[in-house]
Amino acid sequence: MDLLVEGVSHGYGALPVLDGVSLSIASGEIVALLGPSGCGKSTLLGIAGGMVAPGAGRVRLRGEAPAACLNPLTYVFQDFALLPWRDVAGNVALPLEHHGLGAAERARRVDDALARIGLSDFRGAWPRQLSGGMRQRVGIARALVVEPAVLLMDEPLSALDAQTRELLMEDLLALWRQTRFTALYVTHNLAEALRLAHRVVVLSRRPGRVREVVKVPVPVGERGAPAAAATLAALHERLWALVRDEARDAEREIADAGAA
């Protein structure tokens, strides 16, 4: 299933945050949305999944979702958004409960999702007992359990420390090799975008516009190889040049807004 964002603009009151953003995500593709803080990345993700009503423009889906899919557009949240009063298995089961699946099918799906992200031994744990990385794994398992057509990931690694982020990134890469999931991946981290994405969409500072779309010419599986290092380094350099100006201007803008 393809996700098409068409001419989306949005503002909060008099403050415009998105201005005519169009992009498409093809089935099996990971598109990273890169931009400085406050450029409307998260708002765009909210609009893409139907959680925020756009001021203008629309979002459409093309094609059918897989038969097992219960929730085509599924989020992974920066703050994990786990229910603290449910254990790991209960959190993962939440999105299944209103679908009238049999108990056996529900248990099978939960077991499968937990196994895919390596959580099977933690199914009875409370969220408060888990580290940040494990909590986000629960968030990912909860997203996988509905067999989503498109994953909408809102800075899923930003709340984690550097080592945990690296481990989770490896898990995401392994997951993509297994399942070829489709994702719109919001981040402000260039390295994450270059590890995972097929294309990187750079947004300008507020109001966010598509500044540039950069295709990463190395297959996801080969990005760790020494042969790819030079290409990726050059790309990193180019993207950083783009992002740096925007980030610097955005930073000043916020400082000015704070002073006013």
Partner: protein, 262 residues
């Protein structure tokens, strides 16, 4: 080169800990001193009877069946009034917490009526419902209603919106969001509200019984005072404090059972 000096310790303190035996020993000393002073004749038994005499009075009350009758009357008033007030306050608080219209109307209304000392409404309740049980139940229910509505409203407001949005993003129906996200999230704060409303119910039942009742701990305490039987008076107060402790322990047990995830 000068001789190195030790770095002096300057932290510590400001971190009191609990000594396990201190409290029971202090209680025992206090009670023994009181009992001793009474026996020695230093304190007049009319002014303050000995703890032993109070316990004897309590035992007599238990044997005669008067204790059970008074306690039963008070407990049924507390239970009935608290249940009515909690049910209504729960519904109102939930509506205020979830619906814009209920919030716009309910918040000013509750804020305006909350500060009225509810015992002052007992005469009005007697006018409406008569001198019997109904006016007492209504007074307790009113006293419980407002704090419950405020506690439930605040508790619902305190449920993180991102959890509600998360559930919506998975297509969870509104009724399920209420049952699986809003109510469990609000529950600890609602239980904390129950502690307050239970003590309000206890205060109101005693006050209402002192104003007009045939039976009940409040009536018993007032009558013991009028008849100058301080042993009975203190026995009644002892029963009331035990009742308050028991209700608190009950709510504490409910808290531990239902909020193990915290």
């Amino acid at each position: 080169m000068p001789e190195p000096r030790d770095v002096a310790f300057r932290g510590g303190g400001f971190a009191p800990t609990r000594r396990r035996l201190a409290a029971p020993v202090a209680f025992a000393v206090l009670l023994l001193a009181w009992e001793g002073a009474g026996r020695a004749g230093w304190i007049s038994p009319i002014f303050l009877p000995r703890p032993g005499a109070v316990l004897e009075a309590l035992a007599d009350l238990a044997r005669s069946g008067a204790l059970a009758a008074h306690l039963g009357a008070s407990l049924s008033r507390i239970a009935g009034g608290w249940a009515i007030g909690t049910a209504a306050g729960f519904a109102a608080g939930l509506a205020i917490g979830l619906a814009s219209l209920a919030r716009s109307v309910g918040v000013p209304l509750v804020s305006a009526l909350f500060p009225i000392p509810k015992i002052a409404l007992l005469p009005l309740m007697i006018l409406w419902f008569g001198i019997g049980e109904a006016s007492k139940l209504a007074t307790i229910a009113l006293g419980v209603f407002f704090p419950t509505a405020i506690a439930v409203h605040a508790a619902v407001d305190g449920v993180p919106r991102n959890l509600v949005r998360m559930a919506q993003s998975f297509g969870v129906p509104a009724r399920d969001i209420l049952l699986k996200v809003v109510l469990p999230g609000a529950w600890p704060a609602i239980l904390a509200g129950f502690r307050i409303t239970a003590s309000i119910a206890l205060i109101l039942v005693v006050s209402a019984e002192m104003i007009g009742a045939q039976q009940g701990i409040g009536q018993f305490v007032l009558q013991a005072g009028n008849l100058m039987i301080p042993e009975d008076l203190l026995a009644g107060i002892l029963v009331l404090s035990l009742l308050g402790l028991a209700i608190g322990a009950l709510i504490g047990a409910a808290e531990r059972r239902t909020t193990r995830w915290r």
